[in-house]
């Protein structure tokens, strides 16, 4: 099962924190696929902000809903003081890590989500990301430099998201079959088990 997410996406946070345990229980391997919602929202909706900011009524619901979802799953939660945060650099690190087959990718992703949505830290800050990488036994500066080199895989990743027909995050994909939303994780896993 492919787990598509954006580090800036609120509903991706509980999904990221739960996906590996739930998938392991179902016996389904997970691929972590960071991408960017910004270009997708711009193309499909003509907006340059989060849809939750563009529609404040829906935004108000989302913040309350996230609080409830995190309480339900026992996840720490702190509404970020900046939203949406710029997630390009963190996504580049995740794409580079996947390309290198790095075993620390899931831990890195959970660390970035926790920084954004539980610790209210700026995930576009190189110090924050270096610190996370160092905590995973990596040379943070070197990893960031590799990830940020021109011609990296993030552009192709967003193109892949487009081809697959993604329009939001999190999305779970089993082959061409998409399941949109954190609340569809179990259904996606059941589909993967049957497939």
């Amino acid at each position: 099962m492919d787990f598509w997410f954006d580090f800036a996406s609120t509903y991706s946070y509980p999904a990221a924190m739960r996906v590996e345990r739930e998938a392991a229980r179902a016996g389904v391997p997970v691929r972590w696929r960071a991408f960017l919602l910004g270009p997708i929202f711009a193309e499909q909706q003509g907006i340059t902000d989060s849809p939750f900011n563009a529609n404040p009524v829906r935004g108000r619901y989302m913040w309350r809903d996230l609080e409830r979802i995190c309480a339900r799953h026992g996840l720490p939660w702190c509404r970020p003081s900046e939203f949406p945060r710029r997630s390009v650099l963190a996504a580049k690190v995740a794409c580079a890590a996947e390309a290198e087959g790095a075993a620390w990718l899931p831990d890195f992703c959970r660390g970035v989500f926790t920084a954004n949505f539980a610790l209210d830290r700026d995930i576009d800050d190189r110090e924050v990301l270096s610190g996370l990488l160092a905590g995973l036994g990596q040379d943070g500066g070197a990893a960031l430099a590799r990830a940020d080199a021109p011609g990296g895989p993030l552009r192709a990743r967003v193109e892949e998201a487009r081809r697959l027909g993604l329009f939001g995050a999190p999305t779970f994909a089993v082959g061409e079959e998409l399941f949109f939303g954190q609340d569809r994780l179990q259904e996606a896993l059941e589909w993967a088990v049957r497939a």
Copy 2:
């Protein structure tokens, strides 16, 4: 628990077909609250069409998703040849029925949803609605005339939806607490049981 729906809303269909049985199992009484998404979408998103038409990528997902959801719950499904269908008259009948305390309201609602999403019939057609009402032992013509009289309760209903902060359907409301989406029915019921 209040069940807010629009007869034109695709995801409201499986919710409408399941809500009463699931709520009865949980011991939670349900109020059926028909409203109109059109004015809400126009105000909040500046669109005069369904968001699923305005964003065809999301629309393509929705049609596939509905097919899967209906299969999962054993519900008949036929993609309607017209979407979204005009739901004003059916909503007026539902509002009038609620105001009159009519016991046939849930059956009428399921009938309209079935007409739209399983039988591909025009739910704005007075013959279709009269036929449904007759099947429930009502005088269809008289019920439509009462429902369609000026100054009916639908306008106030949409105003109530606005006040409550609705932005889509189906939405389950337990007091001020909203749960958006057909996949949140169980969570809303659990909330109602605890409340």
